[in-house]
């Protein structure tokens, strides 16, 4: 069984739980997808910033289309709302394991998401950890 971790540009930290979720020895790969970057039209400074982040991580940098590069039985990746990342995950031939990070707050199911302050009123206490304050 082969395993890979897709270290995509939404989760450039070795502290992300995706690393603990994958088996020892899983290859950690950041795929540099020139077509996607061209579509996003990232400037040089954005590209350099990301490369600097990668430089401080223990990952391989592989250019290409992630759907081709991430060729393993199991592919682990950090959860992301980005449609590109989600789209690649759907195209992978291996078994995809999406790993969530700790959320900032607990969002009740009945939260009205149409305006920020409705969201904030429902999530404020958990975001501020108010119920965890001793004696509080």
């Amino acid at each position: 069984m082969s395993a890979m971790i897709w270290v995509h540009f939404d989760a450039l930290s070795m502290a992300h739980p995706v690393f603990a979720a994958a088996p020892d020895g899983a290859r950690r790969i950041h795929v540099w997808d020139p077509e996607e970057l061209a579509r996003r039209d990232w400037s040089l400074k954005r590209c350099v910033f990301v490369l600097e982040c990668l430089q401080q991580m223990d990952v391989e940098l592989v250019p290409g289309d992630p759907a081709d590069v991430l060729d393993a039985d199991d592919v682990f990746l950090a959860a992301s709302p980005d449609p590109y990342i989600r789209g690649v995950a759907e195209r992978l031939s291996g078994h995809v394991r999406i790993v969530d990070d700790e959320p900032l707050s607990v969002v009740p199911d009945d939260t009205d998401m149409t305006r920020f302050f409705r969201f904030w009123n429902k999530t404020r206490r958990s975001a501020l950890r108010l119920d965890e304050v001793s004696g509080g």
């Binding site: 930290s13 400037s43 954005r46 490369l51 600097e52 401080q56 999530t123």
Partner: protein, 288 residues
């Protein structure tokens, strides 16, 4: 899976870069879309170490007091948060650890929650965040707005000193204070009547923290396609928050001058005149 020769090169290519110049060369080799005229590297350094330095100087109390000022005590963590170098709960916990009671860090945590909120909406909307989520509330329809960003804005050569300074900072550093983003976005959408999408694309090209979730939805908030009314500002507001940082003199920013009532009539002539503002009310710029 056995590593191929190419993969091993991939592993070592980053460590072979001794400095930022090497990284820029590597970025070019990997990314054919980068034009020869795109030569700027930001003074902001990527990586966990730089992020941790910034985490160490978070001051939530000063943040709450000064964050709307262009020289206020903001965290400058945007690019690190955007790329997940640090996670929102870590920033929150670092902030909480510096204060006596969690509510002393409320303003900063609330701003972190804006990001969380936009990201959750992005998960629901996907590529539809490029569409107007609601109608404009400006008295205009989408057809009244230009499709592309005028060259003078892109070049920072509008002749409006503060606006040109913001563009210059965005393009050279990839960083821009939240209030400057609001001013620039309002200028593009309302003073120049350009579609928010054109401005959003320009921001995403340059901002180190450029993220379609926070960016597009903030642009829509300014434009009024995801808010109840358009966000706009006047020179007096700019002077209050940007004095000493950019040139806010009247004679160099004439187009921005006027009362909110005057500007409302000028920018949104199809709408009913606004209710007069009471002088003592908090300024618009301090709302987000």
């Amino acid at each position: 899976m056995a590593s191929t020769e190419t993969d091993r090169q991939g592993a070592s290519v980053l460590s072979a870069c001794a400095d930022r110049r090497d990284l820029a060369v590597l970025a070019r080799a990997l990314s054919p879309h980068l034009g020869a005229d795109d030569q700027l590297v930001s003074p902001t350094q990527g990586g966990r170490e730089a992020a941790m330095d910034r985490m160490a100087s978070i001051d939530p109390v000063a943040y709450a007091r000064t964050r709307n000022h262009l020289d206020g005590a903001v965290t400058l963590l945007g690019p690190y948060i955007r790329h997940g170098v640090v996670a929102l709960p870590d920033v929150r916990d670092t902030a909480l650890a510096t204060v006596g009671h969690p509510t002393d860090a409320e303003k900063l945590v609330q701003q972190l929650a804006w990001r969380d909120y936009w990201r959750r909406l992005y998960g629901d909307y996907g590529m539809r965040i490029w569409d107007d989520l609601e109608d404009y509330k400006t008295g205009f329809g989408p057809e009244d707005y230009a499709d592309t960003l005028p060259d003078d804005i892109k070049a920072g050569a509008t002749g409006v000193a503060a606006i040109d300074a913001f563009v210059e900072e965005l393009v050279t550093t990839g960083c821009l204070h939240n209030h400057a983003r609001l001013y620039l976005a309002a200028y593009v959408c309302h003073f120049r009547r350009v579609k928010w999408q054109a401005g959003a694309r320009f921001f995403l090209r340059h901002l180190l923290d450029g993220d379609p979730a926070s960016n597009n939805l903030s642009w829509q908030w300014v434009a009024s396609t995801f808010s109840n009314k358009p966000y706009y500002f006047n020179l007096e507001n700019l002077q209050r928050f940007a004095d000493g940082v950019v040139d806010t003199r009247y004679e160099h920013n004439v187009v921005l001058a006027g009362s909110y009532e005057d500007l409302h009539l000028r920018l949104f002539p199809n709408l009913d005149p606004p209710e007069p503002r009471k002088p003592a009310r908090p300024r618009r710029g301090s709302r987000r």
